[in-house]
């Protein structure tokens, strides 16, 4: 990188604004993070339901195809023909036995191996590829693929440790809590185009300090009546986190019926309090769990509203946030309805998340002339460690800790 980023050595309490602005930082991120040693979310296993299923995905700038082969194994490879570089797959998803590039019909197996080249032997003895052309030496770059609790991740790097090790045991356990042994069902997909650098959203999702200050829906409608406890988990590497809150056990017991749907409307100011009707799905009273995995994966549980969010950089000041709303195959009709109602809380029109769509843009515009200055991250001290309060920026500092390690800054 040409830019000299003024970043105090060894401290995580300042973030140079230039990191949200510089083209050469963005280019370096593509090489060191998105094509580097991190696991990147690709899709859900359930989105590749059968042998021959394929789906396109995005890892930073790199277009990717994810497939399930005839034997059921998952593969991912760059969506780039080994011949002239054209996209191989032009659909979002589908079923195929093999994948052909439209440009010159070079054809690939579901694992991305080149299996045929059109006119390889020429026409009537003329033209064609040289005898020595080695089919096995030409293929789009393959990603290593791992599936954890039905979430499919990929990386170009040979050396990335298993994803459980990268996330650490506590974050791993909190993904298992939501997804292990369940069969997720996609309820809808939306893309929110954010007018800011991708890292501003990565920070926002890890920022437990802003939640009750920026998002006023719950307090305005007096929904948080019950004593809340909560905390923050930061992974050892720093870049993955869990922010959670729960109603106290005794309150939970009296509030949640042993089964069925809760609609405890006594003190709500909502005309339709059924918006928040739900059930203690995981049996632990935790009503909010926001979980991130470095760099761009988010798993959200807000009451019974479940979603996966993927952060995709689209230039220094543009980001796509891909939302996949989830339920489970064994939801009762009543539970499914509760999830759909609660989904009003999240997404681009969400009562508790619409502000997150614009606040990154407020920073991007606010710092336009302040590239040599830095933001302050001192709430909760200087460390990037697990803590039992959410009045802290520990997991934002954690993001920068892992970011700096991966970027070599």
């Amino acid at each position: 990188m040409n830019t000299t980023i003024a970043w105090p050595e060894g401290r995580l309490t300042r973030v140079p604004y230039a990191l949200y602005q510089e083209e050469d930082v963005a280019r370096a991120e593509q090489a060191r993070i998105f094509r580097g040693p991190a696991w990147h979310y690709l899709c859900l296993e359930t989105e590749l339901p059968a042998p021959g299923s394929f789906r396109t995905a995005q890892v930073g700038d790199m277009p990717v195809v994810v497939t399930r082969d005839e034997a059921g194994a998952l593969h991912a490879f760059e969506n780039r023909c080994a011949h002239r570089g054209a996209l191989i797959v032009l659909e979002d998803a589908g079923q195929a036995k093999q994948l052909s590039c439209v440009y010159h019909a070079w054809t690939y197996s579901l694992s991305g191996e080149l299996i045929s080249v059109a006119f390889r032997r020429g026409i009537r003895g003329k033209g064609g590829m040289p005898e020595c052309f080695d089919m096995a030496a030409h293929r789009p770059r393959a990603l290593r693929v791992t599936s954890f609790c039905g979430l499919v991740f990929g990386t170009l790097a040979e050396t990335t440790p298993p994803i459980e090790e990268v996330m650490g045991p506590e974050v791993t356990a909190r993904i298992r809590r939501v997804l292990e042994g369940r069969k997720p069902v996609v309820l809808g997909r939306f893309t929110q185009a954010l007018p800011n650098n991708w890292k501003l959203y990565a920070e926002n999702v890890r920022d437990s300090y802003h939640a009750s200050l920026l998002h006023l829906f719950f307090t305005t409608f007096e929904v948080n009546r019950l004593t809340q406890k909560g905390g923050l988990i930061v992974s050892g590497r720093g870049g993955s986190h869990v922010s959670w809150s729960a109603i106290e056990k005794e309150a939970a017991d009296s509030s949640y019926a042993a089964q069925g749907i809760r609609s405890d409307s006594a003190n709500y100011r909502l005309k339709a309090p059924e918006l928040l009707a739900g059930w203690d799905e995981f049996g632990d009273g935790i009503t909010l769990q926001i979980l991130s995995v470095f760099p761009g994966f988010v798993l959200q549980q807000i009451q019974n509203s479940l979603a996966v969010r993927q952060i995709v950089p689209r230039g220094v000041d543009r980001t796509d946030l891909n939302w996949t709303y989830l339920g489970f195959a064994d939801d009762t009709p009543e539970q499914r309805r509760a999830r759909l109602r609660q989904s009003n809380l999240v997404g681009p029109a969400g009562f508790v998340s619409m502000e997150d769509g614009c606040v990154g843009g407020f920073v991007q515009r606010g710092v336009a002339a302040a590239g040599e200055l830095a933001g302050v991250l001192e709430m909760g001290g200087e460390s990037a460690e697990t803590t039992d309060t959410r009045a802290t920026e520990a997991s934002v500092r954690g993001f920068w800790k892992e970011y700096r390690a991966v970027m070599g800054m």
Binding site: G188, R189, F190, Q192, L216, T220, L270, N344
Partner: protein, 162 residues
């Protein structure tokens, strides 16, 4: 049964009129009047053509009662924080058919968004899939409105309804 009988032409006129009022209501910022275009028992959903084709149920907005629409207006007024902006809806001509439930209408729309600083962009295109039924006084109200956006992409946020 759909109440006092209307000819197809009368129904189409009434729907055109109601849709024109609906658009002006939102574009003028009279959000409090917006739930009044719906029956108390109603369905309102904003989703994408892609989700609709795939039979996926979720919406960026998903309401199954007028009370939920009223809560959304209260939230926009009292709780949610966003930069001041306005819409300009242009609705095309509806294709109206009658079935056992009432009058079905499919209407294309364009919505421009005008931000505080004057930036004006095409915010959404799509179509309304509606079910209109008369109330006890014969006025047509929406029993169902599915707002199908042509694109899966929503720029920044969707605060004011479509």
């Amino acid at each position: 049964m759909i109440g006092p009988s209307r000819s197809a032409a009368e129904a189409r006129d009434a729907i055109l009129e109601a849709q024109a009022r609906y658009a002006l209501c939102l574009d003028d910022g009279r959000l409090e009047e917006w739930p009044g275009f719906f029956h108390a028992a109603c369905s309102y959903r904003i989703t994408t053509a892609e989700n609709h084709r795939a039979g996926l149920e979720a919406g960026v907005v998903w309401a199954d009662s007028r009370a939920m629409l009223e809560d959304r207006v209260s939230a926009l007024r009292e709780a949610n924080i966003y930069e001041r902006h306005a819409y300009r809806h242009l609705t095309g001509l509806p294709v109206v058919t009658e079935d056992a439930e009432g009058w079905r209408a499919e209407t294309p729309f364009l919505v421009a968004r005008i931000m505080r600083d004057g930036a004006t962009d095409l915010f959404a295109t799509g179509r309304y899939l509606d079910l209109w039924r008369p109330d006890s006084e014969g006025r047509l109200r929406l029993a169902e409105r599915v707002v199908l956006c042509d694109s899966r992409r929503v720029d920044t946020l969707l605060a004011i309804p479509l």
